[in-house]
């Protein structure tokens, strides 16, 4: 008897960028660097997706300035993604961006059998709206609780405390330092972080191992064990160029 007529399917992996597009991003080429870093990371991300056919990597992006809006609203397979440049201008409605993402992570439209999503927040400043409200809305969504949340701070003006609250506080676990926002001081380090998030992290999230529920250690370790960070964090003396932001 032949194999039955059933639909077997890989599991969707949603990758969401939350990009600060406030006016300050126009300074010192930060916005240009961000656009370039994301665009250049796409081939690597597509390669990781090809190497992990059990996951269907779908990319979306939110931009926030005076308001938050979808830059890429439709979950788009990474190999079909064409990155349109973000433009800087306005203030920093980060809370509204979190609200937008919280709504998108509701089930539905999120698929029940999806893999834990990856959220990457990139900012060079401080939120100017109700960040706490946005974060609370996000935290209430089960898929956000399961998500891998990363934050990249651009320059020394970025609000690290806010970014830390986004990724969550996490105690040091055996052999690993607590997770912190990644700090990019120039275009090279930003590109490295974006590359890491879109390849190594996507690779890890594509093939998650199951884990024990309810153990404090597991809860602290996050939903997906993160791969090693780029060398700039492991060794800050690595030469990634001068700090310009």
């Amino acid at each position: 008897m032949p194999f039955p007529d059933v639909k077997l399917a890989n599991r969707p992996l949603h990758f969401l960028y939350l990009c600060d597009c406030s006016g300050s991003m126009a300074a010192s080429g930060k916005m240009q660097a961000l656009n370039q870093a994301i665009r250049q990371s796409l081939p690597g991300m597509a390669a990781v997706a090809r190497d992990n056919p059990e996951a269907r990597v779908l990319v979306r992006a939110v931009s926030f300035a005076d308001h938050a809006a979808w830059h890429i609203e439709t979950p788009t397979p990474v190999d079909q993604l064409e990155w349109r440049d973000l433009q800087a201008g306005g203030i920093t409605a980060m809370g509204a961006a979190l609200q937008l993402v919280a709504a998108a992570l509701q089930t539905p439209p999120m698929e029940v059998r999806a893999l834990p999503p990856v959220l990457v927040l990139i900012s060079d400043g401080q939120p100017t709206d109700d960040f706490a409200g946005g974060l609370e809305a996000l935290r209430r969504v089960p898929w956000a609780q399961k998500a891998v949340r990363l934050a990249i701070a651009l320059g020394h003006d970025a609000d690290l405390e806010v970014l830390q609250r986004f990724i969550g506080t996490e105690p040091a676990t055996a052999g690993r330092s607590p997770r912190r926002p990644l700090q990019a001081g120039n275009a090279t380090s930003l590109a490295q972080y974006i590359q890491w998030a879109s390849t190594a992290v996507v690779g890890a999230a594509s093939m998650p191992a199951s884990r024990v529920s309810e153990t404090p250690l597991e809860a602290a370790a996050g939903n997906i064990p993160l791969p090693d960070l780029p060398p700039t964090v492991l060794d800050p003396t690595d030469d990634v160029g001068p700090v310009v932001w």
Binding site: P2, F3, E54, A209, S210, S213, T215
Partner: protein, 459 residues
């Protein structure tokens, strides 16, 4: 009492993603025929899923030991107690005594393994973390117990398949699951335990026990039940047309699906003197009711084919047209107020989507309770007034099931906010979903969800 069970069979395959990463199969399966005190045959099948990952780096051993320990614990009980000793006692055994014996035995086994083959660092049972699903089949009854994200499906000889067991732990978020390495693991078995008497009149059926890799490989739960029914045939090894073998089929499931390890065990019961063991026909889920894991519901009347309800659908289509004319979504209206005499015509996109959704659901009624259960948050939010039904109805084209649920909300409030399950049938004729040809299985499943969705706390 005559034994009607066929010796169970099982197979376990390394997942496609694990092969690529050079990781071993962390699933395990064990099927065995044991004997009770009086010599009666007792079939046992167990599946286990080691967690994998760095923290559980010996979980492929942990899963194997979980199956072996479970089998030994069952054997120990059978040697000490007659099968005729009363079903209540065996039921308690599945919930409490057996789990304690299994966890105790498993902890001893993994500790002994560590002693014989110590690794780096210090021993902790976490390294061996694994789930366990277990089915015991005796001539008088059959029962299941375990913990973790395994699934158990019952497939009747004449086709119907229904999910009997799945993990419903609130803490099991994402890839998290319950595990034998948890301190109070034995206490978690009771929620997954059940004993089912095997009456003389019980028809032939099969039990399909599988690890989560199979269900996660299926696009929908309907696909999963169809696949389980096919696996229940258990003749994959013998039939050259079945993609070579059962193993090849499991490989295909993993390769085209989740990439996870995949494991299945099948036990079958057939009537004596009735020829060969039953081979349930394939795609069997249509027209079947799905029992809830804990409390089986009364049989649901057979669902009429949606096409038989054309007049009602036509009315709904007309409503959709009328609504489209005012630029508003079909479900946003209180249907019963619309005259049923409007001419039938193509509906709005929302209406079309909702109709298709009703047809889809009613075409596979066995999957309805599962699909609705996964929207439990939505039922609760609607019931408690935290979710406005209007936008859900308006977005029917994007999410027709949510729109159907939202449209059914008024049914809850007929009769003072009591769930419709508590209402007499006469209170339901104005239920909007009837106009779309919702089958009894869909209406009943909706009733069940409304009944368990807590109303808003009184201020």
């Amino acid at each position: 009492m005559v034994n009607r069970w066929v010796a169970p069979i099982g197979a376990s395959r390394t997942g496609a993603a694990h092969r690529r990463a050079g990781r071993p199969c962390q699933d395990a399966v064990l099927c065995r025929e044991l004997r009770g005190l009086d010599g009666q045959p007792v079939m046992v099948m167990a599946v286990a899923d080691g967690h994998g990952g760095r923290r559980y780096r010996r979980s492929e051993v942990g899963s194997r030991l979980a199956c072996e320990t479970a089998l030994a614990a069952v054997q120990g009980a059978l040697a000490a107690r007659a099968l005729d000793g009363g079903e209540e006692g065996w039921s308690r055994w599945l919930e409490r005594d057996l789990p304690e014996a299994i966890q105790r035995g498993w902890l001893e086994a993994v500790a002994a393994h560590w002693q014989s083959d110590p690794g780096e660092g210090r021993f902790e049972s976490l390294l061996y973390g694994s789930t366990l699903g277990l089915v015991v089949m005796t001539p008088r009854w059959w029962g299941h117990t375990g913990l973790g994200d395994w699934d158990l499906v019952r497939v009747e000889a004449d086709g119907p398949a229904r999910l009997l067991e799945e993990e419903n732990e609130p803490t099991a978020l994402g890839e998290a699951t319950c595990s034998l390495c948890q301190p109070r693991a034995a206490s978690l078995f009771a929620r997954r335990a059940g004993l089912h008497p095997l009456e003389g009149g019980t028809g032939d059926f099969a039990l399909v026990l599988c690890t989560d890799g199979i269900r996660k490989s299926c696009a929908t739960d309907g696909d999963f039940l169809t696949l389980a029914a096919w696996l229940a045939r258990g003749d994959g090894e013998a039939d050259p047309e079945v993609a070579g073998s059962l193993s090849a089929a499991l490989d295909r499931i993993s390769r085209e699906g989740s990439g996870d390890d995949v494991t299945v065990a099948v036990g079958r019961v057939w009537s004596p003197g009735g020829g060969p063991p039953p081979s349930p026909p394939p795609p069997p889920v249509a027209g079947v009711a799905l029992a809830p894991p804990a409390a089986p519901c009364p049989p649901v009347p057979e669902a009429p084919h949606p096409r038989q309800r054309r007049p009602a659908i036509g009315g709904a289509v007309a409503i959709g047209l009328a609504l489209a004319g005012v630029g508003w979504s079909w479900l946003a209206l209180n249907w019963p107020r619309v005259p049923p005499t409007l001419p039938a015509a193509p509906g709005s996109p929302g209406l079309r989507a909702a109709r298709l959704e009703v047809e889809r659901l009613c075409g596979q009624p066995a999957a309805i309770p599962l699909e609705l259960r996964r929207r439990r948050e939505l039922f609760v939010a609607l019931r408690q007034g935290r979710q406005d039904p209007a936008p859900l109805k308006a977005a029917a084209a994007a999410d027709p099931l949510a729109a159907l649920i939202a449209a059914d909300l008024p049914a809850v409030d007929q009769g003072g906010g009591k769930p419709p399950a508590a209402q007499p049938a006469a209170a339901e004729p104005r239920r909007p979903l009837r106009a779309l040809g919702a089958c009894p299985a869909l209406l009943k499943a909706l009733d069940r969800q409304w009944a368990v969705a807590p109303a808003a706390p009184t201020p």
